[in-house]
């Protein structure tokens, strides 16, 4: 048999196509990305079949971590007339006046651009004056915002936050973000605080999970699709 002579090919491949693909994907991910807000605590939310997405603006988020500490925040996205940075500034201004915190404009600005608050009022000034590294440390050690089972209790600071925030923007939706491991009494305190302020409708943040087949909700979903 005659030997077939293989033509020697160059090992260099044309990278242009691959480069195109890479940058196409890069563009997609860059546009699709929404940076995670640096929350003071990591919270793993439980899952449910609910498909309602969390609204972007006019929301008040109460985070309860797995140790039962409570954090409070309102959105800072600048959408529409309500919510956004101005609302945060308005909230801290009102709070400063109401609680006589003697905050400087710089500290108020820190609140405006910051994330959730998880310190009692007594430490708030110190917290806002601190640099981000120290704030992180304070978040780790803080006992969270004090809550009580009764909304009228003087040391229920969460109730004060909610009251002032709602005075500022009565349309705030209330979201509770709890951890998988959060013990029920901590959740109960928050729910009771809300109940004491005649708030009986709120949202719980969950992850999406599939509807189990053979159930009433599954049949409903089948009918709709």
């Amino acid at each position: 048999m005659p030997k077939v002579k293989m033509a020697r090919k160059s090992t260099n491949i044309d990278m242009t196509a691959m480069c195109d693909v890479a940058f196409l994907l890069l563009t997609f991910f860059m546009l699709a990305t929404k940076f995670k807000k640096n929350d003071p605590v990591m919270v793993v939310t439980p899952s449910s079949i609910s498909q309602i997405t969390v609204p972007d603006t006019s929301i008040m988020m109460i985070t309860i971590d797995n140790k039962g500490r409570v954090f409070f925040s309102i959105d800072r996205k600048n959408v529409g007339e309500r919510g956004g940075a101005e609302a945060r500034l308005g909230l801290i201004n009102d709070m400063d006046e109401y609680k006589h915190l003697n905050l400087t404009p710089e500290e108020k600005y820190q609140f405006q651009k910051g994330a959730a608050i998880g310190v009692p009022f007594s430490q708030l000034k110190q917290y806002l004056a601190a640099d981000p590294r120290l704030q992180k440390q304070m978040d780790e050690q803080s006992p969270g915002i004090p809550v009580d089972t009764s909304a009228d209790a003087p040391d229920n600071e969460l109730a004060t936050w909610i009251r002032v925030a709602r005075n500022n923007n009565p349309f705030l939706r209330i979201l509770i973000k709890g951890d998988v491991g959060t013990k029920y009494p901590a959740v109960d305190k928050v729910i009771n605080t809300l109940g004491g302020m005649k708030i009986f409708r709120f949202n719980l943040i969950t992850n999406l999970e599939a509807i189990p087949p053979g159930t009433a909700a599954y049949e409903d979903a089948q009918k709709q699709s």
Partner: protein, 198 residues
């Protein structure tokens, strides 16, 4: 100036004294650029949150300290199912409200379960029972299953959300979170003893 010297033999016309500029290939090695591209893709893939978190709407029953007995909504005993959430994600159920101390809820092996799948069976059975009672004329056609959810102090937020979710899954229209009573705790203890659970 504007034209490119493309011919390889064109250099001859410049004469021997003129230095020939070395012709470079217009091809660039794109490998580092691809590397960089994929590095950035990896970064954005990790930081991106494509799925927005979902939310579950909850309505709590209206509660007021000054409410009179008549204003409180009554739950029919025959349509009610009480769900107790306790330690180690266990769920205990019994039929009725459990408000009568003289008639403690009946112990039943079905009323202890570790998953919402077990709870689903209980709810489906209860629904069928109510349907039968409706046909027999004991219950009004408008009556429907009412689930009272009573989380104990040693249950977690996940248990609560799971049970709320189960209500949506099983199409239970009326449910409420209620505070646990001592009688319920007693029931949990007895059921644990009967089933040999610590």
């Amino acid at each position: 100036m504007a034209e490119l010297d493309t011919s390889s033999s064109g250099s001859h016309k410049k004469g021997p004294g003129v230095k020939k500029g070395k012709k470079l290939s217009t091809r660039i090695d794109l490998t580092p650029m691809v590397d960089l591209g994929f590095l950035l893709i990896t970064f954005f893939m990790y930081t991106t949150t494509l799925a927005k978190p979902k939310t579950m709407e909850i309505n709590m029953p209206y509660k007021d300290k000054n409410m009179t007995e008549e204003q409180k909504s009554k739950v029919k005993r025959s349509t009610a199912l009480t769900v107790l959430l306790s330690k180690d994600h266990r769920i205990y159920t019994y039929a009725g409200i459990g408000d009568d101390p003289t008639k403690p809820p009946v112990l039943d092996p079905i009323n202890i379960t570790k998953s919402t799948v077990g709870l689903r069976k209980v709810i489906v059975a209860k629904k069928q029972e109510i349907e039968q009672l409706k046909q027999a004329g004991t219950l009004m056609p408008s009556d429907q299953i009412t689930v009272l959810i009573k989380p104990d102090t040693n249950s977690t937020f996940k248990d609560l959300v799971d049970v709320f979710d189960e209500m949506t899954i099983d199409d239970v229209k009326v449910y409420a979170k209620v505070d646990i009573t001592d009688q319920d705790r007693d029931f949990i203890k007895k059921t644990q003893e009967a089933n040999g659970i610590q």
